[in-house]
Each structure stands twice: as structure tokens, then as C-alpha cells.
């Protein structure tokens, strides 16, 4: 058998696929669409690593080079401060700059250094600011838009970013001084958990796509069979007909590759418009890894030929028709179990061997292991369906029709469902990993967002200014309550004792009784009261003695550092710091977590007990309770904060905080498994519709002798449901097993054995959807037209 005959027969088959009449073309089109969708997914997956890498590259290229420390101003040096603010759930990142010379280095993506008070914005931010939606944000960024940041300064086309030239930046409130941009930050490694998760997710998404491609090349099997029989009649031998059949699939697959490349090209253009996996990329960054792309482009056509030849294995094509060997060889279970076992065997040595903080794991071994286990489970399905269906007994007519049909051709049904098994198994295993990791990654922040939703902190010149700031928050639109304190420190006066490098100190907070009550359990509080706040060691706070050696009722404390470090600004102060006597009536009180979740300690004082103005370089801290009835209340507060001090820190209080990387992985899994399941459902639907159409005459005659619609509808449902339920059962067992093994690798325990419920729910929904969608055709075929002889 020469290559020539192969090429000739395959080409002949390909020609049949394209010219084989309306049904032939339809079949080719279906195959091409199916394969095309699969190829698109595969190419996108192949582009993903590059996409993530390019993102890192872009991020490090625009960062200020901090590898060299510049101690004094230079003509090209600048001070910089990175500040990000939340705007309606989106992050707006900003880089604040102040040049120190006359030729500061131009930031990446900019044509020129913006003038003072001006800023450059990303196209997305410009669009936001220009729209009515951006009005509130515009107030927060009081700079004139002077230009656009180009691609070189952005991570993705949808990034919200500005670079502003501000006058208020000093060496007191800056991040650093720089002279150039771009430094190779060692890429922040994902930890072993996340790598494992991403790895399993990729395998879980890719295997069903392959299964789908295998199913797609079999669309329209029965019509093809008739055509092949006709070929035999005119003298083609068995091997030849099989090659021709493979050629037909090949044509569909090749067309599918083109479709896939086309769809990929389109998807690539839209990469910037959509934010998938929290990644928003420039089309030029969406490039499949060459090796993976070649693998996809070669595997798909080859797989289509192999699958076709494999599918025709049990089929004898005779000149007068296709005979499926009436007693197909019994399905053996051992090699299927062997595959699964091999997969588990590959995974087993890794069990318990992965540390949370580990950043490199043996991805090949785990990837292959997971893939083997999944494929093994999938191949188990036809055996399982056959074994179970054989034992099913006839019940009502609808059930009997379905069961008998399955008994006669369980393979077709099982194949259609196998994609779902892989997807569901994987999804369940992932969900288990996810559940375990979620509790690791979702840290309780300790914050209590019912007490306050935003915390703002800023420096003040003196206590009066701090009080004034708090007052401004109280007057901001949408603010219900403000917990406001002015905070500073108190020191033990007098000379240093032996062995002391600095004077002992304790924090002091000044605020009204209501505000102070947020920090301590106060037995009672009146204006003029003073308390000494003790934690009793909670949350790793210093021991109570650390506080009491400075602050006790009746002792005098210094309101400034009596022995300042010579470099500190305080050392320029003349004379000893002012002193204050803690009233003898001050009481010891117990600390309680403030709204941010912290146990504070030190001195609490009401304003009339100590003039706030006397405090040295105080901080103003405001914790704001928003009025839920006012839309954008949070944005108004952030605007006030930015107006008071652009460098103020603003924190949104959330009870829990999820690792951002982790939530993007989760998004990816959800999107991916949804797509995969839909793909599989589509092929299931096509198979069902095809089967119905092939039985047109039979359906009509069943209707003739009075079969109810419902009977036939139920039989279609059972026919879909039985293999699906078996598949889902297998997926639940397999998924839980696989998830258990994967969790064992990282020495995690299973948090929730019920994670399979949502996936099973999706599966059941799919059964219902496929059945429902095939009803219109069933009912149309049940009209008597089918009885008319053509």
C-alpha cells in the first residue's frame, strides 16, 4: 500500500465531502463547525501562556527601574508615587511624577513629559472620563488631560491608567526617585497550588475538545454508510472505502482548521474588548506558542483520519449496504481500568509532596497523569453503558423503546456523552481543589464591614487640621457616620534609662465617645474622660506592661519624642516637647477589634481632656459608614479623600479578601467548563437529530398505529438520559476520586464532598435541553408526511 493510493483515496473522499449533495455538504459543514470551535479553543489555550507572559513583560517594562538608588536630584531624575483607586469596582492605576531637573525621562507610552498639573491617560480611561459615567472620577483626578498613553505604557487595551505630573510630591511622601523605566522584575511566581489548578484546568478543558472533535468527524454516519456501500458496488475494496471515508472526515477537519483559524483571528482582535480570566490583552500578545500551534494543526487532521478508521473497525461495508457486525466484540474492561490506573500511578508518587509555597512542580507528570486518568474514565463509559443497559429490564413502552435502542447501539450513545464525562469529572475535581484552596486563599480580614465600609488615613500638620479633615468626611454626600480619631504618640518624659535607645512610647487616640467606643469596651464615657487601652496580648499586640510603663493614670507624658533621632524632622524642634498629665481618674479598659479588625492599645482621650492641637504630627483616621441609599457614596468619599490629600490611603473594608490571582483562575474554570459543556451538548443534539431523521419512516408508522407523542418524547428523553446519568455517575465518582488524589498531593483534606452537585445540575440541565431541542423535529417527523413514498 503506497502513499500514492492513500493520497488518492483520501482526496477522493474529500471530494465526496464537498460535492456529495446537500446532505453531504451539510455534514461537512457540521463537522467543520465542530472542529473549528474546538480548534479555536485549543489555539486560545495555546496562546494563553504567551498572553500571561506578555502581560508580565509589559508590567515590568513600564515600572520605574529601582535597581540603582539615586540619592540626590539629577537633571533627568524624578520622584514617583504609585497610587491606585477603586472606581465603581474597577481599579484605576496611577503613576504620580515630579521631575527634579529639566529633562526628566519620558515615561513609557508617552510622547513627552506632561506639564505640571497635567496627566496622560490610557484610551480606556479617556473614554471613561469623557462619558457621563466618569464625572465623579474626573473630580478625583484634578489634572488636565494632556495626551494619551500609548501601547508601550499599558498592559492591555482596556486598562484604566493615568500618569500625572504633580507638584506636591516630596521625599516625604514618595515611593522613590528614578531616572529610567523598565526593570526586569523576577516574575512573580504562582504558587504550587495555582500551578496545579491551572494545569488540571487546561487538561480538563482540552480533553473534551479532543473528544468533541472525534465525535464531530462522525456526524452523518448513516448517510455516509450508504454512500460507501455504493462505492463498494462499483468496485472499491474494503480498505479503499475506509480510506475514502477517512478522506471525507479529513475534508471536514481541514475545513474545520480553517474555520478555527478564522475564529481565532477574530477572537484575537476582540482580545482587548473582553476581559477573560481578568486578562485583557493586545491582539499582538495573543500568539499561540509555536510548538503548541503546530501540534494542534497537525493533530486535528491526523486525529480525524485515525478516528474514522477506528470507527469503521467493527463495520463491514458490503456493496448492498453496511453491516454492523451483529454481535460486536464484547467490550473489555481491563485496558480501560489500566489507563485510569496508569494515570493514578503517575499521580501517586506526588501525593503529599507538594508544599503550599513551592513554585515549581512537575507539570508533565501531573498533566499526563490527569489526562490519562480522565481518558481512562471516558473509555470506561462505553463499557459501563453496555454492561448496565444489558441488565435493564423492559418497563413502560417509552422506556422499552429507549432501552432496546441503547442495547443495540450503546456505543453511539456513550460516545456522544463521553465529552460530558471528561468535562464533568474534571470540573468536579477542580471544584474540590477549588474548595480546599478557597479557604486558604480567602483570608478573613477580620474587618467588620457592618461597622464601616471605607477607612481613610492621612497625615496632618497638627491636631486641628486632623479634626478638620474628619469634619469634611462627615459632611461628604452619602456618609452616614464617621468614626474619626486623631492619633499620635505619647512618650515617657525625662532622660533615657540605661540600655534604652529611645524613650518608651504608646499610641494615643483622640476622639468623641462614640468613636472611642469602636476601639474599646467602655463601661461609660463622658466628655473629658481618658482611658488606658489594654489588649491583654490579643492578636500579637505587645504585652500590657509595654503600654503601662509609659501611660498610667496620673502620670505625665511627653507629647513629642524627647530624644528624637538626629535625622528626624522632630530634632529641629526647639526646647523640650510639651507635656500632658494623664488624669488620675483615667480608667483601664479592654481593647476590642476596630472596624478594620485590629486590636489597638495605648491611650484613648476625649477632645476636652487634651487639646487635639497639642498633638505632634498627628494622623487623621476616618472610618466611614456609608448610607446605602445614596448611590456612589463610596466614590464621593474617595473624592473627598483625594481632595484632602492625593497621597492619603483609602481602604475598602471587606470581611474577606480573595487572592486576585485565585479568582481569575476560578473565572477561567467556569468559563472554560461552560464552553466545553455547551460544545458537548451541541454534538449530542446533532447526534440525536440525525438519529431521528434517519428514523423518519419508522416514526411515521408508529404514529399511524396510534403511538402518543408523549410516548416517543419520553423514549427520546430516556435514550439521552440513561447514558447521561451513567456518565454523570461515573463523573461524580471519578471526579471525587481524582479530586481526592489531587488534594492529597498538597496534603489537603476534602472540605466538601458535595461539590459535584452544581456540575451534576448542569448535566441534568443539558439532558433536558437536548431533549427539549429535539422535540420540534420529533413532532415534525411524527406528522404523517413521512409515510408518503418518495
Amino acid at each position: 500500500m503506497t502513499l500514492r493510493t492513500w493520497v488518492r483515496d483520501l482526496a477522493l473522499g474529500a471530494r465526496f465531502a464537498v460535492t456529495g449533495g446537500r446532505t453531504g455538504r451539510l455534514r461537512t459543514l457540521l463537522t467543520a463547525t465542530g472542529v473549528g470551535l474546538g480548534v479555536t479553543l485549543l489555539l486560545l489555550a495555546a496562546a494563553l501562556p504567551n498572553m500571561l507572559f506578555q502581560r508580565e513583560v509589559r508590567e515590568s517594562l513600564r515600572a520605574v527601574d529601582g535597581s540603582e538608588s539615586i540619592d540626590s536630584p539629577r537633571p533627568d531624575s524624578f520622584l514617583h508615587l504609585g497610587r491606585a483607586t477603586d472606581y465603581r469596582g474597577d481599579v484605576v492605576s496611577g503613576l504620580l511624577l515630579r521631575p527634579e531637573g529639566d529633562r526628566p525621562t519620558v515615561p513609557p507610552g508617552a510622547k513627552a513629559f506632561p506639564a505640571r498639573g497635567e496627566m496622560l491617560v490610557s484610551p480606556a480611561l479617556r473614554e471613561l472620563l469623557d462619558s457621563p459615567d466618569g464625572d465623579l472620577l474626573a473630580k478625583r483626578l484634578p489634572y488636565k488631560v494632556a495626551g494619551t498613553i500609548g501601547e508601550a505604557g499599558l498592559i492591555g487595551p482596556a486598562e484604566l491608567r493615568y500618569v500625572a505630573h504633580v507638584g506636591f510630591l516630596t521625599t516625604d511622601n514618595f515611593d522613590g526617585r528614578g531616572v529610567r523605566y523598565g526593570w526586569s522584575v523576577p516574575e512573580e511566581p504562582m504558587n504550587a497550588f495555582l500551578i496545579l489548578l491551572v494545569l488540571v484546568a487546561s487538561v480538563v478543558l482540552l480533553v473534551p475538545v479532543l473528544v468533541f472533535i472525534a465525535t464531530a468527524v462522525r456526524f452523518g454516519g448513516e448517510q455516509r454508510d450508504r454512500r460507501l456501500a455504493a462505492l463498494r458496488l462499483v468496485g472499491a475494496d474494503t480498505a479503499m472505502t475506509r480510506r475514502i471515508a477517512a478522506g471525507e472526515s479529513l475534508a471536514g477537519a481541514l475545513l474545520g482548521l480553517l474555520v478555527g483559524l478564522g475564529l481565532f483571528a477574530v477572537a484575537r482582535e476582540f482580545a482587548g474588548t473582553f476581559t477573560i480570566w481578568d486578562v485583557n490583552a493586545y491582539p499582538s500578545d495573543v500568539v499561540p506558542m509555536p510548538a503548541l500551534a503546530v501540534l494542534v494543526l497537525v493533530t486535528v487532521p491526523v486525529a480525524s483520519v485515525v478516528v474514522s478508521l477506528f470507527a469503521l473497525r467493527g463495520v463491514v461495508i458490503e456493496p448492498l449496504g453496511v453491516v454492523r457486525t451483529s454481535t460486536p466484540r464484547r467490550r473489555r474492561v481491563w485496558w480501560r481500568l489500566l489507563l485510569t490506573a496508569a494515570g493514578v500511578a503517575l499521580l501517586a508518587p506526588v501525593i503529599g509532596g507538594i508544599e503550599l509555597s513551592q513554585t515549581g512542580i512537575d507539570s508533565t507528570q501531573i498533566g499526563v497523569g490527569v489526562a490519562l486518568a480522565l481518558v481512562g474514565l471516558t473509555t470506561l463509559l462505553p463499557w459501563l453503558v453496555e454492561a448496565v443497559v444489558k441488565r435493564l429490564h423492559a418497563g413502560p413502552v417509552a422506556w422499552q423503546l429507549a432501552v432496546r435502542r441503547l442495547q443495540l447501539s450503546s456505543g453511539t450513545a456513550a460516545r456522544a456523552v463521553s465529552g460530558i464525562v471528561v468535562a464533568a469529572t474534571g470540573a468536579i475535581a477542580l471544584q474540590m481543589l477549588f474548595q480546599a484552596m478557597e479557604s486558604d486563599f480567602t483570608q478573613g480580614t477580620g474587618a467588620d464591614s457592618s461597622r464601616a465600609q471605607i477607612a481613610i488615613g492621612t497625615h496632618a500638620k497638627d491636631g486641628d487640621e486632623a479634626r478638620a479633615m474628619i469634619g469634611r468626611f462627615e459632611r461628604t454626600e452619602g456618609v452616614g457616620d464617621v468614626i474619626g480619631v486623631v492619633s499620635s504618640s505619647v512618650w515617657r518624659p525625662g532622660p533615657l534609662k540605661k540600655g534604652e535607645e529611645f524613650a518608651p512610647m504608646a499610641p494615643i487616640r483622640v476622639g468623641d465617645c462614640a468613636s472611642l467606643a469602636e476601639f474599646a469596651t467602655l463601661p461609660s464615657c463622658r466628655e473629658g474622660d481618658v482611658f488606658v487601652l489594654l489588649t491583654h496580648g490579643a492578636q500579637g499586640a505587645p504585652p500590657d506592661s509595654w503600654v503601662t510603663r509609659t501611660a498610667r493614670p496620673g502620670v505625665t507624658v511627653a507629647l513629642g519624642d524627647p530624644h528624637p533621632h538626629p535625622d528626624a524632622p522632630e530634632s529641629r524642634r526647639k526646647g523640650p516637647p510639651p507635656e500632658w498629665r494623664i488624669p488620675a481618674g483615667a480608667r483601664f479598659v479592654d481593647s476590642r477589634p476596630d472596624p478594620t479588625g485590629m486590636y489597638e492599645y495605648g491611650v484613648l482621650a476625649t477632645p476636652s481632656a487634651i487639646g487635639a492641637a497639642r498633638l505632634d504630627t498627628p494622623d487623621a483616621t476616618a472610618m466611614v459608614r456609608l448610607d446605602p441609599a445614596v448611590p456612589d457614596a463610596a466614590e464621593h468619599v474617595r473624592n473627598t479623600a483625594a481632595d484632602i490629600d492625593p497621597t492619603a490611603w483609602v481602604r475598602t473594608l471587606e470581611d474577606t479578601q480573595q487572592d486576585a490571582q485565585f479568582s481569575s483562575v476560578r473565572t477561567g474554570i467556569l468559563v472554560g467548563s461552560t464552553l466545553t459543556m455547551l460544545l458537548v451538548a451541541a454534538s449530542l443534539l446533532v447526534t440525536t437529530l440525525e438519529q431521528l431523521r434517519d428514523r423518519k419512516r419508522l416514526l411515521s408508522s408508529l404514529v399511524a398505529f396510534g403511538t402518543r407523542r408523549s410516548t416517543l418524547s419520553w423514549s427520546v428523553l430516556w435514550q439521552t438520559a440513561v447514558p447521561m446519568l451513567l456518565g454523570l455517575g461515573l463523573a461524580v465518582l471519578g471526579g471525587l476520586g481524582l479530586g481526592f488524589v489531587l488534594l492529597s498531593m498538597t496534603a489537603q483534606r476534602v472540605r466538601d464532598w458535595w461539590v459535584f452537585l452544581p456540575v451534576t445540575g448542569i448535566g441534568l440541565a443539558l439532558i433536558a435541553a437536548v431533549t427539549l431541542l429535539s422535540m420540534p423535529l420529533l413532532w415534525r417527523l411524527m406528522r404523517a408526511d413521512g409515510l408518503r413514498t418518495e
Binding site: 413502552v397 423503546l401 432496546r404 419512516r697 408508529l702 399511524a704 396510534g706 403511538t707 409515510l787 408518503r788
Partner: protein
């Protein structure tokens, strides 16, 4: 014959798209008689049968069965009537390939809600009467065409219908098998008193009938009833 016909159709019209299949066809069938419906292909024979059996609703005209107006019945009611009172034999493609022959024959009984055991017992009896009891456990794909048609006849008769509609029942068979099917069909229906509407284009098959009508261009030429 003095009593009223069992099944009577008057002035049937039916068109599939722009093509008229029936144009003013009339027909009558007495209980227990075998009537051959003849005519060239495309003349509307099968459409007439489909209308008479309540499978297709005619565009115009009336069909009375046993005193009931068939065209006025709902689809559900007509389906139920077909299950209980009518039997069907077609040229091919009527046996469910997945079911064994006995299950195929028992199917109409089971659709009527009969228990599986009882239904299959009666199915076996009918298979024996049609001399195909050896096929009971086989699937339609494993038996010959002639056997298949006899299984189909058994299925048509198993519910003890009052009318059997047979559309070219021997069309796919050779002469010998065709005659055997016809002999068994007519004998069995005469034994049970079922009337038969037999659509055929073969005179030899029509010769098994008591009388024949001819459909030409969608109309019936039936000297005895329409004249």
C-alpha cells in the same frame, strides 16, 4: 347489504403544497369486507388511506367511522381510535429495529396500557397464526422480508381491530412471499371479521379482495357506491 357502512368518506380534498392528492374522493367500507384500492402511482391511493385512517386530516370532506365524524375528532382522540379500532401494514420500515418481533407485535397492546406479560402472550399467539412463531425472539434485522411482513400483519391484527389498513403490504416481497402474506392477511381478517382497506397496484394482490375501487387523479371511480 342492508346495514350502513362502517367507514364512509364523502368529497375528500387534500393537497400537499400546490399538488392536489385528493379531489372529491368518496368511499365506503362495510364491516368485514376486503376492498382493494387501485390506481396508477401518484393517483392519491395512499393519501386516501391516510385520510380514512385518521392519520391525515383532509382539507375538505367528511369521514364517518361507526357513526362518529372522524374529521371532528382531536388528534389525541384519533390516535386513540387508531390504537383500538384500526390496524396497519405498510410496505416497509414499520417494525422497530431494536425490539424483538414479539415485542413489536405486543407494542400496540402495550400502547393501550396492557401489561407486558399478557401482551406478549397474545403476541406469540398471533405470531403462530401467521406462521412466524420462530421469529419471536429475533430482531427485525435478523429475519427475511416475508417474515417481517407477516410479523407486521400480526401486529396489525393483535388488537382485534375492526379495520386493517394495508398500504402495498407485498410491495417489497417476491410473488411467493407476497401471496403468503396476502393469504394469511385475508384469512385472518375474515376469521376475526376485520374489514381491510388494501392499497395496491398489483391486480394479483387485489384479487384477494371482495371488490375494488380505482383512484384516478384524486377521485374515486366506484360504480357501486358513488354512481
Amino acid at each position: 347489504m342492508s346495514h350502513a357502512p362502517l367507514l364512509k368518506a364523502t368529497g375528500l380534498d387534500k393537497a400537499y403544497g400546490p399538488t392536489p392528492a385528493l379531489a372529491g374522493a368518496s368511499f365506503a367500507l362495510r364491516a368485514g369486507e376486503v376492498v382493494a384500492v387501485m390506481g396508477p402511482s401518484g393517483s392519491g391511493k395512499s393519501t386516501l388511506l391516510h385520510c380514512l385512517a385518521g392519520i391525515v386530516r383532509p382539507d375538505a370532506g367528511t369521514i364517518t367511522y361507526d357513526g362518529r365524524e372522524l374529521t371532528a375528532l382531536s388528534d389525541t382522540a384519533r390516535s386513540s381510535l387508531r390504537r383500538t379500532d384500526f390496524g396497519f401494514v405498510f410496505q416497509f420500515g414499520q417494525l422497530v429495529p431494536e425490539l424483538t418481533c414479539v415485542e413489536n407485535v405486543a407494542l400496540p397492546l402495550r400502547l393501550n396500557g396492557e401489561k407486558r406479560k399478557a401482551a406478549e402472550a397474545r403476541a406469540v399467539e398471533w405470531l403462530a397464526r401467521l406462521e412466524v412463531d420462530d421469529t419471536a425472539a429475533k430482531r427485525p434485522g435478523e429475519i427475511s422480508g416475508g417474515q417481517g411482513q407477516r410479523v407486521a400483519v400480526a401486529r396489525a391484527l393483535v388488537t382485534a381491530p375492526r379495520v386493517i389498513f394495508a398500504d402495498e403490504p407485498t410491495g417489497a416481497l417476491d410473488s411467493l412471499n407476497g401471496e403468503r402474506v396476502m393469504r394469511l392477511l385475508t384469512d385472518a381478517s375474515r376469521d376475526t371479521g376485520a374489514a381491510v382497506v388494501l392499497v395496491t397496484h398489483e391486480a394479483r394482490v387485489a384479487a384477494y379482495s371482495d371488490r375494488e375501487i380505482v383512484v384516478r387523479d384524486g377521485a374515486v371511480r366506484d360504480a357501486e357506491w358513488v354512481a
